[in-house]
C-alpha cells in the first residue's frame, strides 16, 4: 500500500479484474492465485488460453507456476534484486519506454545509475535463478504491448515489503506498463473488504480516502463534521498494539471480526498482551480463540444479516443485501458501535447504513458519488467516483498519475531478518490453502470445507523429509527460535529443498507461534513469509492433538 502510494500517488489495483483476460503478458509474483484468488486466476487462465505469456515468480511450484511459460523460483526474500536484474536487462536491451519515462515520470536518472552499478551474475546467485530465464522474462514483459504485474502477500509480508512494491512500480514505469487499459500493477487483496478497510482509514496515518492525517485542512474538515478534535499524531500499527506486552501502554481493546491470537506473528507475545489488558471486548460471529480470551463478547451479525458495502481488490464498492434478520442476540456492526457510543453519551448520528454511506461520500472525495441507491441495483462502482453522476473508474492513472508524475525510487536488496543457520536450517514460508479461510473462524465451521482439509500439513521437499527421517503423513515438530508446533508432513516436489510451507488456518498448529515479528519499517507489516525453522520427527502422534488448548 505505502509503496504503491509513494510511486503512483495511489495505492490500489490499477486495473479491473476483467481486463486481465485480455493482457498479452502477465507476471505474477508472491501469489498462489488459483487457490487464494480463483476469480483472478480464471481471468489469467483465459488470457493464457488466448495466447498470453505467463511468468510466475514464486519460491514454490504453485499450481499456477506449473502452467507458467517461465517460473522463476527465487530464494524467499530476494524480490528486489530479481526485479532490479530484470530492469537492468531491459535497459541493456534498449527496451525501456523512453517517451513514457520522459513525459510521465521523474527521478529516472537515479534509478538508471543505480541499475548500472548492479552485477547480473551476482543477482542470479543471490536469487537462485538462471540468467537466461531472467532475461527471457524481462524481455517478454518489456516487449509486449499489454503487460500486467499482479502481486500479493508474498511481496508485502517481508521486512522490505514497501521497497518490494516500489521496485515493481519502477519496473512498470520503466516499460510504460501503467496508465493504459490492460496494463498496470495489481496488488490482489486477501479478503472481500481489505481494500475497503484501507479506504476507510484502518491505517494509522490516514483519514478516510487516504487523506493525510498530517494535513490541517483535512483534520479541520473531519472535525467540523464529527464535532470533535482530531489528534494530529498517527495511531498505532497493529503489532504495536498486539505486541505491547503485559504492561503495554494500551489498557483496553475492542476487537471486531479479527482473531489476532492466530493471525499475528509471535503468538506468545500476543497472548501475553491480551491477558495483560484491563478490558478486552471482542465482537465476532463465532467464538474465536481471541473471543475466548475476552472479558466481554458481543455476538455480531453475519454478512447475510445486515446490509452495507464492501470494496474489493479492483476498488469496486459493492452493496450487500440483507437476506435474513439477525439471529436472536446478534447485532449488526453499526448497531454495536452506535449503541456503545450511546452508552458513552455520544450520538453518532448515523441511524442506517445508507446514512453512514452518505457521510462517507460527504467527507471522502474518492467515494463522493457512492450512494446506496446507486449501488443497490448494480454490480457496484469503482473508485475514484467523485460525484453522483460519475460512472466510476475501471483503471487508474489514465493520462497522468494521481500523484502528478510517477516517481522512480531505487531500492536495494534487504536480507530477510532471520537467516537460516546450523541450528535452524530450513526457511519457513507461510500462506493459505484453497479450502480454508484465514484463521478458520468461518471456514472451519463448514463441514464440507473441513472435510476437504481438516489438519495442518507441512509441505516439505522429499529430500529434506528423507534427511529428517519423515515419510508422508508422519507427525513432526516444527520449531523456530520463538516456539514449536506439531503437525503432519506432506511430501511435495513443489517445494525447493531447504524450504518448507504451511498455513495459519489451524488452531491445533498455530504457525504464528513460530513466525518472526520483524516489521517493514514503513507499512509495519510483519515478515510472515520468512523465518528459520527446524524439523524433528515425532515417534507417535501428539496426545489429543485436535483438542489442544491455546496458551490463553
Amino acid at each position: 500500500m505505502a509503496g504503491l502510494a509513494s510511486s503512483f500517488g495511489s495505492g490500489a489495483m490499477t486495473n479491473s479484474i476483467n481486463e486481465l483476460a485480455q493482457v498479452d503478458v502477465v507476471m505474477v509474483s508472491g501469489s498462489n492465485t488459483t487457490e487464494a484468488h480463483p476469480q483472478v486466476a480464471r481471468r489469467i487462465m483465459a488470457a493464457v488460453d488466448r495466447g498470453a505469456k505467463l511468468i510466475v515468480i514464486d519460491p514454490r511450484r504453485t499450481p499456477l507456476a506449473r502452467r507458467a511459460h517461465i517460473h522463476l523460483a527465487l530464494r524467499p526474500g530476494t524480490d528486489i534484486p530479481l526485479l532490479n536484474g530484470m530492469m537492468r536487462l531491459i535497459l541493456d536491451e534498449g527496451l525501456a519506454d523512453e517517451q513514457f519515462i520522459a513525459k510521465r515520470t521523474e527521478n529516472f536518472l537515479s534509478l538508471r545509475d543505480h541499475l548500472f552499478r548492479l552485477d547480473l551474475e551476482e543477482i542470479c546467485a543471490t536469487c537462485g535463478v538462471e540468467l537466461a530465464d531472467l532475461s527471457r522474462a524481462a524481455c517478454l514483459y518489456a516487449r509486449a504491448y499489454r503487460s500486467t504485474f499482479c502481486y500479493c502477500l508474498g511481496i508485502t509480508q517481508h521486512i522490505c515489503g514497501t521497497d518490494n512494491v516500489k521496485t515493481i512500480a519502477n519496473l512498470a514505469m520503466l516499460t510504460g506498463n501503467v496508465e493504459k487499459e490492460h496494463t498496470g500493477v495489481d496488488p490482489l487483496r486477501g479478503q472481500n473488504n481489505v481494500q475497503g478497510a484501507c479506504d476507510m482509514a484502518a491505517l494509522p496515518g490516514n483519514l478516510p480516502g487516504y487523506q493525510a492525517l498530517g494535513d490541517e485542512m483535512v483534520r479541520a474538515k473531519f472535525s467540523r463534521c464529527w464535532g470533535t478534535k482530531i489528534p494530529p499524531a498517527p495511531g498505532r500499527s497493529l503489532l504495536e498494539m498486539t505486541h505491547g506486552g503485559a504492561n503495554g501502554p494500551i489498557r483496553a481493546m475492542f476487537i471486531m471480526g479479527e482473531n489476532p491470537l492466530l493471525s499475528d506473528p509471535h503468538q506468545a507475545k500476543v497472548a501475553e498482551t491480551l491477558q495483560g489488558l484491563d478490558l478486552l471486548v471482542v465482537s465476532d460471529i463465532f467464538m474465536t480463540e481471541t473471543a475466548k480470551a475476552a472479558h466481554l463478547v458481543l455476538p455480531a451479525a453475519s454478512f447475510a444479516e445486515k446490509c452495507g458495502t464492501v470494496t474489493n481488490s479492483e476498488r469496486r464498492v459493492q452493496y450487500m443485501h440483507q437476506v435474513i434478520e439477525p439471529l436472536p442476540g446478534c447485532k449488526s456492526d453499526l448497531a454495536i458501535i452506535s449503541e456503545l457510543a450511546a452508552a458513552m453519551g455520544l450520538d453518532l448520528g448515523c441511524a442506517s447504513p445508507a446514512e453512514t454511506m452518505e457521510e462517507i461520500a460527504l467527507l471522502t472525495p474518492i467515494y463522493g458519488g457512492m450512494y446506496h441507491h446507486r449501488l443497490r441495483s448494480s454490480w457496484g462502482l469503482q473508485w475514484p467516483c467523485p460525484h453522483g453522476d460519475h460512472p466510476g473508474t475501471p483503471f487508474l492513472h489514465k493520462h497522468f498519475f494521481s500523484g502528478g508524475k510517477g516517481v522512480f525510487q531505487p531500492t536495494s536488496h534487504v536480507e530477510p531478518d532471520e537467516g537460516v543457520d546450523g541450528e535452524y536450517p530450513l526457511t519457513l514460508i507461510t500462506g493459505r490453502i484453497y479450502h480454508q479461510y484465514h484463521t478458520g473462524t468461518m471456514s472451519r465451521n463448514c463441514p464440507s470445507l473441513e472435510r476437504e482439509s481438516r489438519a495442518a500439513l507441512l509441505e516439505i521437499n522429499p529430500a529434506d523429509a528423507r534427511a529428517a527421517g519423515l515419510t508422508e503423513g508422519d507427525w513432526l515438530e516444527l520449531a523456530s527460535r520463538r516456539g514449536a508446533i506439531r503437525l503432519q508432513a506432506q511430501l511435495s516436489s513443489a517445494m525447493t529443498p531447504g524450504q518448507v510451507y504451511t498455513t495459519f488456518h489451524f488452531h491445533e498448529a498455530p504457525v504464528n507461534r513460530l513466525t518472526n515479528p520483524a516489521l517493514d519499517p514503513i507499512a509495519k507489516c510483519p515478515e510472515y513469509k520468512v523465518c528459520a525453522v527446524k524439523v524433528m520427527a515425532l515417534a507417535e502422534p501428539p496426545h489429543q492433538a485436535r483438542d489442544e488448548e491455546l496458551p490463553c
Binding site: 441495483s377 463441514p447 476437504e452
Partner: protein
C-alpha cells in the same frame, strides 16, 4: 392441442395455484432470474425470456434438508422428517424437466427415496419450449430440448400473443378439462407456426457439442491420460459444476447436534469432484487427484449411457459459466473427439 391467450395466462395460473405453491422463473431486484415461489402473482416479474440461473433440482433435492431428528433424553428417539408441499412449476425449461426425469431414476433404484418422491408426486410440471436457445445451450445434442415429445404434464409454446398448450401425462389432460373455459382449440396455422418456430430454434444454437460421438468413443475405449491431466490441472476443486447440474445428485449425511440431548440428521449436497468425497478416515484416498474428475465425466457420458441408454447431461450449459478453469463438460467432449480425430 389447445390455445391459451396471453391475457389469460395469469388468471389461469392464479386459479391453478389455489391450495398449491406456484413456482416460476422470476427476475429478482438484483437482476437474477431464478425459479422462485410466487407469493403475490400481481406483483412479481415473471421472466420467460432468460434462462433461470439454477435448475429445478433444489425444489426436489434441497441443498440442505432435515431428514430426521433425534433425542437421547429422556429416552432415545429417532423421528424421520419429510417436508413437502404440492407445487405447480410453470415455465420449466425442457432441459430442467429432463433433469428431474433423470433424478426419478436415481432416487427410485435400488430403494425408493421417500422424501424425494413425496415432493415429486405433489409436483405439476408445465414446461415452456425454448424458441430462442441461450448462449451456452446444447440440448439439441443431448436430445433434451428445446421442445419435448413427452415427460411433461403440460408443454407451452409461446406463439406471441398466445400459447400453444400440449398435454403429456394424464394429470395435464385433467387440468385442461377442469379449466376448459380458458382454452380454445388450436388451428392449423398455430401448428404451422409451432413447426416454424421449432425449425428456427434448431438453427439458433450457437454451440455444436458432439455428445453422441464422444459417448461412442468412451464406450469403446479409455480416455487418454493427457486429457485427464490437463483437466485436473485446471480444476479448482470448487464443486460448482455439480451444484448447478440438474442431474448431479450426490449427497452426504451429517448429524448436527442442537443441544446436549438432541440433534438433527441433515442431507446436504455433495460433489464427487471434491477430493474429500472418497477420503477415508485414515487419510487415504482411493480416488484422489484427476480421478475425481474422471468419475463425474464418465458417469454422465459412459456409465449412464450403458445403464439407461442415454447420457445424463441435459445440455443446459450452466456448468460452462460456473467453471473457473473452463473445464466444463463441453471442453471434455471436445478434447475426447479431437484426440480421436488426431489419432
Amino acid at each position: 392441442m389447445l390455445i391459451l391467450s396471453r391475457d389469460n395466462l395469469l388468471p389461469f395460473l392464479r386459479r391453478l395455484s389455489h391450495g398449491r405453491r406456484l413456482v416460476a422463473p422470476l427476475r429478482n431486484p438484483q437482476g437474477d432470474t431464478l425459479y422462485s415461489e410466487i407469493k403475490d402473482i400481481d406483483h412479481c416479474r415473471l421472466d420467460l425470456d432468460n434462462q433461470p440461473q439454477a435448475s429445478l433440482k433444489p425444489f426436489f433435492l434441497p441443498q440442505q434438508e432435515t431428514i430426521a431428528t433425534y433425542t437421547s433424553q429422556p429416552a432415545y428417539g429417532f423421528a424421520p422428517q419429510s417436508h413437502h408441499r404440492p407445487t405447480i412449476f410453470f415455465g420449466v425449461r425442457s432441459c430442467d424437466l429432463q433433469g428431474i426425469n433423470y433424478l426419478d431414476l436415481t432416487f427410485s433404484t435400488p430403494g425408493r427415496d421417500e422424501n424425494y418422491f413425496a415432493r415429486r408426486q405433489g409436483a405439476l410440471l408445465i414446461t415452456l419450449v425454448c424458441n430462442r436457445p441461450f448462449a451456452n445451450c446444447f440440448c439439441n445434442n443431448t436430445a433434451s430440448g428445446p421442445s419435448l415429445d413427452h415427460g411433461y404434464d403440460l408443454q407451452f409454446t409461446d406463439l406471441g400473443d398466445r400459447f400453444l398448450v400440449e398435454a403429456g401425462r394424464s394429470r395435464g389432460e385433467d387440468i385442461l378439462e377442469t379449466w376448459a373455459p380458458f382454452f380454445t382449440s388450436a388451428r392449423e396455422r398455430d401448428r404451422q407456426q409451432q413447426y416454424q418456430l421449432a425449425l428456427e430454434a434448431q438453427g439458433r444454437f450457437s454451440r455444436k457439442v458432439e455428445v453422441e460421438h464422444a459417448c461412442r468413443l468412451l464406450a469403446q475405449g479409455e480416455v487418454h491420460d493427457d486429457i485427464w491431466q490437463e483437466l485436473a490441472a485446471r480444476c479448482s476443486d470448487c464443486g460448482g459444476c455439480a451444484y448447478v447440474c440438474p442431474t448431479c445428485s450426490c449427497f452426504t449425511i451429517r448429524d448436527q447436534p442442537l443441544d446436549a440431548v438432541s440433534g438433527e440428521r441433515l442431507r446436504c449436497w455433495d460433489a464427487c469432484t471434491l477430493q474429500g468425497f472418497t477420503a477415508m478416515a485414515g487419510g487415504h484416498n482411493p480416488v484422489a487427484g484427476e480421478h475425481a474428475l474422471k468419475r463425474r465425466f464418465l458417469h454422465k457420458l459412459k456409465y449412464d449411457v450403458a445403464r439407461h441408454g442415454k447420457p445424463s447431461c441435459v445440455g443446459c450449459g450452466r456448468c460452462l459459466d460456473i467453471c473457473f478453469g473452463q473445464l466444463d463438460i463441453t471442453s471434455f467432449i471436445r478434447a475426447v473427439v479431437a484426440r480421436d480425430e488426431g489419432d
